[in-house]
Symmetry: none
Subunit: 250 residues, 2 copies
Amino acid sequence: MMKEERYDQILAIVEKERYVSAVRLSQMLYVSLPTIRRDLAELARRNQIIRSHGGAKLNQSEHVVAPLDFRKTVNAAQKRALCRCAAGMVKDFDIIFIDASTTTLQMADFLSDKKGITVITNGIPLATLLVQKGIKTYCTGGEIFENSLAHFGSFAEEFIQRFNIDTLFFSCHGVNDKGMLTDPSLPETQIRKVAIHQSEKTVFLCDETKFSLSTPYNLVPIQTIDHIITNSTTVKKYFQPKDDGKITIV
Amino acid sequence: MMKEERYDQILAIVEKERYVSAVRLSQMLYVSLPTIRRDLAELARRNQIIRSHGGAKLNQSEHVVAPLDFRKTVNAAQKRALCRCAAGMVKDFDIIFIDASTTTLQMADFLSDKKGITVITNGIPLATLLVQKGIKTYCTGGEIFENSLAHFGSFAEEFIQRFNIDTLFFSCHGVNDKGMLTDPSLPETQIRKVAIHQSEKTVFLCDETKFSLSTPYNLVPIQTIDHIITNSTTVKKYFQPKDDGKITIV
DNA sequence: TCTCTTTTGCGCGTTTTTGATTGTTTATCC
DNA sequence: GGATAAACAATCAAAAACGCGCAAAAGAGA
């Protein structure tokens, strides 16, 4: 019997039974255990099966897991507080945009009680969470980036331009010493610029780690934001609005 | 039984019962308590369960589980075979569209070895899987429907119209006795019609349960499809092409 | 047929897994 | 709060599975 032919038979068996031991394969195919082991090693190298001690199992993609699991993000607890505060600003029947970031992700947990709201986002994990909570959700579409599972680029920007957004909730990578919001990539700043432009009101969620952090691309000056939600009084070094209502420190 | 297999069984039991004791697991799986404890410790380390004194409980919030988990879909094994066959038709550097359905979902598992392909889809679970496998993926965008976690509607249709698609892989809800492909909702038929229109070649994946099943909305007659992949010879009752190469029975 | 290459099977030391045992910690009941 | 029972972590030995080197066998090409 040819090697590849045996590979196919092994795959067929694994497909059918989901799990199969090396010993059993050896008996079924009338070849020695070392041979089966070599076969399994090769098939695992090709990602066609998953090797496990004693045999092999079907390489079937598991549940769709959102890699942006917020419990693994830094400062998850603080970010959660910011999100709760932000969600409190949403009114029934609002049309809001929430951008794709670990900072805003947890807003999904605090929007269930709003009536008739529409959420637009470019973040797939967030969109999935929202939908599962029964919230009317639009996702921008476009190319998907692996790191963030988010949409960026011209199509996503065009998509946003079709909406008149009541309130934008967003974050960014850093706020530099000049009080400029910055991001590490151009597509990220672009989509946020568009979202800001389409929004009646802009709310910036900023945990303490972002202050005094500069990344290559400028978004907008912090003064131009309508409302800032932060957990650090450091914000006052960067911006002292005349209207104290513009800043919420949680 | 192998370790990984036991892990999966434990997870299945925990998912079903929400809480299980270590003793009970030990009895159910015919292994000793220390082994079960080691298993639970490992699964807890992977964040797949929450360990508690005496047993383990379901970890609900940890991962965003797409409702379309194909391990729970009917005919998952047959659909998998169809998907493997379909993936075999994809060439390097192709631009393909895969529609949102449980039938086509598993194609994600068989596209890793293709070079430079681009996949467009309206299904979020599929898109997520593809991205995680490193495949260049575009998702259509638009409103998201909770049942299927898929995009339908005019936004999604417009998005598709921007692409010249080499091959479309799709399914539908049923094939009625007149050989007409049918779907239970208008948005579903609409988006498929657009996808068909934009595609050079159309491939229809059809497991045996779909034959002789009529739902309200007509898509297209089965004769107009370029290639049909099915696991049932029943297809010949509905369509006998002159060119036998048009049908693949797996 | 001969030679070279690939594939296979075997022996053996190593690693992994498992179940039993021990003493310790935790929960429960009064 | 103290006694009892359950659950636990740690350790150890046996069994199973493993990887590696090497030689035999099988194929392919001249």
